[in-house]
Amino acid sequence: MTGIAANNLSVRRNGATLLDGLSLSLGPTGSVAIIGPNGAGKSTLLKVLTGIDRPTAGTVQVGERDLASLSNAQRANTIGYLPQYFEPHWDLGVAELVRLGADRSDRLAAGAIEAVTEKFELTELGRRRWSTLSGGERARVLLATVLVVNPPVLLADEPAASLDIRHRLDVIRALTRRPDRLSVVVVHDLDLAFTFFERVVVIDRGKVVADGPAKSLIDDTRIDEAFSVRFDRLKTPDGWLLRASTGP
């Protein structure tokens, strides 16, 4: 079992403090939504946890080990990362992209490429090139490319933010419905965060301001403080609806 933990992480860049001594322990499995206002440090946190950006201070622990002590290949196989925007520089084909994702593992499970191709319904996309794909198709290809090595930790930065609601739900389901994986997803849509995720972490100004099971955190007024609005909480048959209050 892997899990990932941030220990007193700080990131300062050009005089701005992006993360301010943030500590957070996640996993080893389960689904975690990270929410917070713009500029709270959500994307920065995910990049530091992935090893893309280095923290100014603090450490990241992956399972029993320090992230910095992992080899590049170990890191790439343990932590899957889905960026907010992805646009390959060359117009690769669907199968070529999935193959590139698979190549980062030297112990790829037999049939992994076929399995992921089937799971994300890419068979019929076949030899299509990236530039010819729709937004929903691109999201599926990217998911397949990242998940083909079956990483035990998945960090996703609002990968579905630009999609229509059906495709957004598809992506969120694909990210969260794996009991053997830790899925940490930066989520813009608060309803999705409280409906689909087991745990919700609220980040503001580079710090964790609230953290807990989705069911019990929904009433926490620190969410309202972080977003600087007052939310109306509406119960629906299958989840919660948070609506920014328009009243006085």
Binding site: G51, I52, R75, A76, Y81, P83, W90, E96, L100, D103
Partner: protein, 326 residues
């Protein structure tokens, strides 16, 4: 894939055309007789002069195709080109120093080393300038390259003026600047062929990582690539290739830009097929351009670099226009 036999056939055909073309046109029958060992004047002209020159042109073209592909891959920019990024200009400056400045070491050693140092130094300078200026996008990189190429060109002109007593060397430098394949002896041709194959092998080692880098720096790091170290290594490898091309063929513009584009259209963007395909396309283009250079205005010879620039300039403008529209 039918593309490969066609590419190789096209190369053989262009070598045949190259051997036939010139002030004195030869027929395929002449070529066959010469290859069969006929040692009359036409046969000697073919075997000792024309064929080595044509094959050298093919090698230089192949190197330019490889260099262009590596630089486009490293910069993730389809407009990157050794000539535009200053690396070819740096190699030419190094070659000029080797030819005009009296140095203790033998020229055959100094020239390729200085050509490499110039190519590498210029490319690192371009990367440095665009990083410092925060202009790491396509346009910023190209502008930095243009600026570096202009300064290097001025330095080269200054050297040529200051040391113009050495008229014989100056002639060689001038032919270098305008681009032109010298006719090599067969042993030198063998060396060039060996270098070309070594460069293909070297760049093929980069192929997979160039593909990963093409996903963008963020994804490349997430996929386990040490991006900074790889870029430094790839620029070094690309500079070796460009230095070899410049040492044997001078400044030949636009082949390094056009070849990867044509090859990408033929075999797709993955670098493992792209590199050899781009080398073949470059070899075909330079062989034909050299044939034009030798035969268009007999008995004079047009510098090869002028032929490729006249043909390649519009190609570059076309690419730029398409990119700006996108």
């Amino acid at each position: 894939m039918r593309v490969w036999p066609l590419l190789i056939l096209a190369l053989l055909l262009s070598i045949l055309i190259g051997a036939a073309a010139g002030h004195d046109w030869m027929s395929p029958a002449d070529l066959l007789r010469a290859l069969a060992g006929d040692t009359d004047l036409r046969g000697r002209l073919l075997i000792d002069w024309r064929l080595p020159r044509v094959l050298a042109a093919a090698c230089v073209g192949g190197l330019l195709g490889l260099g262009g592909t590596v630089f486009q891959g490293v910069f993730r920019n389809p407009l990157a080109e050794p000539y535009l990024l200053g690396s070819a200009g740096g190699a030419a400056l190094g070659a000029t120093v080797a030819l005009l400045v009296p140095l203790a070491a033998p020229q055959s050693f100094v020239l390729p080393v200085l050509a490499f140092a110039g190519a590498w130094g210029a490319t690192m300078l371009v990367i440095g300038i665009s990083r410092v200026a925060g202009a790491v996008d396509a346009a910023g990189m190209l502008l930095a390259g243009v600026a570096v190429a202009a300064v290097l060109g001025a330095l080269r002109s200054f050297l040529m003026l200051a040391l113009s007593d050495e008229t014989a060397s100056l002639q060689i430098v001038l032919s270098w600047v305008l681009g032109g394949v010298q006719t090599p002896t067969w042993p030198i041709l063998g060396l060039l062929a060996a270098i070309s194959i070594a460069c293909l092998a070297l760049t093929l080692l980069l192929a997979r990582r160039l593909d990963v880098l093409g996903l963008g720096e963020t994804m490349a790091i997430a996929f386990g690539l040490n991006v900074n170290r790889f870029i430094a290594f790839a620029v070094l490898a690309g500079s070796v290739v460009v230095a070899a091309a410049v040492a044997f063929g001078g400044l030949v513009a636009f082949v390094g830009l056009a070849s990867p584009h044509i090859a990408r259209w033929l075999v797709g963007p993955l670098h493992r097929p792209l590199l050899p395909a781009s080398a073949l396309v470059g070899a075909i283009v330079v062989t034909l351009a050299d044939a034009i250079a030798r035969s268009a205005l007999p008995p004079a010879e047009i510098p090869l670099g002028l032929v490729t620039a006249i043909a390649g300039g519009p190609f570059f403008i076309l690419l730029l226009a398409r990119r700006l529209r996108a």
